[in-house]
């Protein structure tokens, strides 16, 4: 698959639990961004990494942390999960330039029960 790959596709966790979401960007894309979408609402910006450095943080809860590795893949570590964390989490990657559009992954659907 030459697109952005996210795993897992679906996950169910209990309240208070932990989860790890993974994003593998398109080869050559060093810019990786995470978005959250709840119930078909707007895409909410969580965090951006470029060249393995955090460049901007949006609505990322303090219970979550994101890291970008040497091969540019990204992992979101989620702890103390709350019911409100139930959402679709999209990762997107792009090339460096400001005019570069994003390619989105298929998303991870997280359900916290």
């Amino acid at each position: 698959d030459s697109g952005v790959v996210q795993s897992p596709r679906h996950i169910i966790k209990e309240k208070g639990g932990r989860s790890v979401l993974t994003c593998i960007p398109i080869s050559g894309h060093s810019n990786v961004v995470w978005y959250q979408q709840t119930l078909g609402k707007e895409l909410k910006f969580l965090i951006q990494h470029y060249e393995k450095v955090e460049r901007d943080k949006g609505f990322l809860p303090s219970r979550f942390s994101v890291q970008q590795f040497d091969d540019y893949h990204s992992e979101m570590n989620m702890s103390a999960l709350e019911l409100e964390d139930s959402a679709m989490y999209f990762c997107a990657s792009s090339l460096r330039g400001a005019c570069s559009d994003y390619t989105f992954g298929s998303g991870t659907r997280l359900l916290v029960i």
Binding site: N31, E42, Q48, D56, S94, A98, C99, D101, Y102, G107
Partner: protein, 115 residues
């Protein structure tokens, strides 16, 4: 800060009628890049259109948009809506230079096309 405004939350049209989704933006950059993304149910958002130079129209899959810096707008249009156009449409602004772009998305417009 930089922001994107989409005024229509829900748009319902009859097939064959024209589509117009509004997008205005605010940015400190004199040469912004604007995008339209389409998000079909159970799929991931994908690029529909990307802006070109000022006052130049860009087209794709029957949709078109023109960046107008004078009015800070990048409205999406289509002459005749099809049932398959039903989706969420997001306008986005690229607001970063040199450290990887970060797209700021509008709240989206849900387009429903009925027979």
């Amino acid at each position: 800060g930089d922001s994107v405004t989409q005024t229509e939350g829900l748009v319902t049209l009859t097939e064959g009628l024209p589509v117009m989704l509004n997008c205005t933006y605010q940015t400190i950059y004199s040469n912004p890049f604007l995008f339209w993304y389409v998000h079909y149910l159970n799929e991931s958002p994908r690029l529909l259109l990307k802006s070109s130079t000022d006052n130049k129209r860009t087209e794709h899959q029957g949709f078109h948009a023109t960046l107008h810096k004078s009015s800070s707008s990048f409205h999406l249009q289509k002459s005749s809506a099809q049932l398959s156009d039903s989706a969420l449409y997001y306008c986005a602004l690229s607001d970063r230079r040199g450290t990887g772009s970060k797209l700021s998305f509008g709240k989206g417009a849900k387009l429903t096309v009925s027979p």
